[in-house]
């Protein structure tokens, strides 16, 4: 059976997290991960950092953003009518 090198696994980590690979590649990668602690650690720590980024709700819209946008559009709608 063909196996993947650590380097090949590393190249696919991002695709793996995005679930963006063939079932065959996924199987190969998972076989490698079961046997290679180093790569498993790399995958898990990368995944964890991304979870932190995605979870972070500090990325808010500036105060009043929606309101200002609506004002701007209201003016445009007025123009469009006339």
């Amino acid at each position: 059976m063909i196996t993947l090198s650590c380097e090949e696994v590393r190249r696919e980590i991002s695709n793996y997290l995005d679930d963006d690979m063939s079932p065959r590649m996924r199987r190969l990668l998972e076989v490698h991960l079961e046997q290679c602690r180093k790569c498993a650690v790399l995958l898990d720590s990368t995944h964890n950092v991304l979870v932190l980024l995605a979870d972070e709700h500090r990325f808010e819209l500036p105060a009043g953003f929606s309101l200002r946008m609506r004002h701007m559009l209201a003016k445009e709608f007025e123009k469009a009518k006339s």
Binding site: L17, P62, M69, E76
Partner: protein, 213 residues
């Protein structure tokens, strides 16, 4: 995780709903444009912000793009989602402004995609980013720090994909780069931001969770 069929039919439903809404707006019911914009205004803003990095510019560009999309709504082909279309307009506008500002930094020129393999830091033991160990405020500061430390081309792809949660195709459209380029940059960006965390002394071990795709 949803299966592909469910996702596809959901997608069709969204497209159908959008088409109806757009038809109404075009028929003169302009106020309903708000409904089209509201669910994605946050993503619009962060797409602009990812590229421009200043709040005022990001807001202006968001408004311009939203306006442009309204004026050009008749030209929108309902084959893709409205959000993808709008986000690609935002990406274009933001990059045009960036060029005008002549802020294409040297940093960007110095970090092409093909500078070879990126080798992530190796860890000898199980480690995890200790979410509980950091106060929320500190965590936010660390994340900001980690993002700021990334070269521009990696930061923008990471923000669009992992914070804005655009898909690969939308990210590609917003940045006007190819899908393979998005993937290459994304891999590098993710490994770099991960390294930023694991290399810091405040990021010490507790337990481990298995990564699920």
């Amino acid at each position: 995780m949803q299966n592909t069929l469910v996702r596809e039919s959901e997608n069709d439903r969204i497209l159908e709903g959008e088409r109806e809404l757009i038809a109404e707006i075009l028929a003169g019911n302009h106020e309903r444009y708000y409904e089209l914009i509201a669910p994605i205004e946050r993503r619009v803003y962060y797409t602009a912000y990812a590229i421009l990095r200043t709040e005022a510019d990001a807001e202006e560009v968001s408004q311009e793009a939203i306006l442009k999309a309204f004026r050009g709504l008749r030209t929108f082909r309902g084959e893709a989602k409205f959000s993808s279309w709008l986000l690609s307009i935002v990406g274009n506008e933001a990059r045009m402004r960036l060029r005008r500002r002549r802020e294409v930094s040297l940093e960007l020129l110095k970090s092409p995609d093909n500078e070879g393999e990126y080798t992530p830091i190796e860890l000898a033991e199980w480690r995890e980013i200790p979410i509980e160990a950091l106060a929320q405020k500190e965590l936010a500061a660390r994340l900001e720090e980690a993002l700021a430390a990334l070269p521009e081309i990696y930061r923008e792809v990471l923000i669009l994909r992992d914070i804005d949660e655009l898909n690969i195709a939308e990210t590609s459209a917003a940045l006007e780069i190819t899908v393979p380029a998005v993937k290459t940059r994304l891999l590098r960006a993710r490994l770099m931001v991960r390294d930023y965390f694991v290399s810091r002394s405040w990021a010490r071990h507790t337990g481990l969770r298995k990564a699920q795709p």
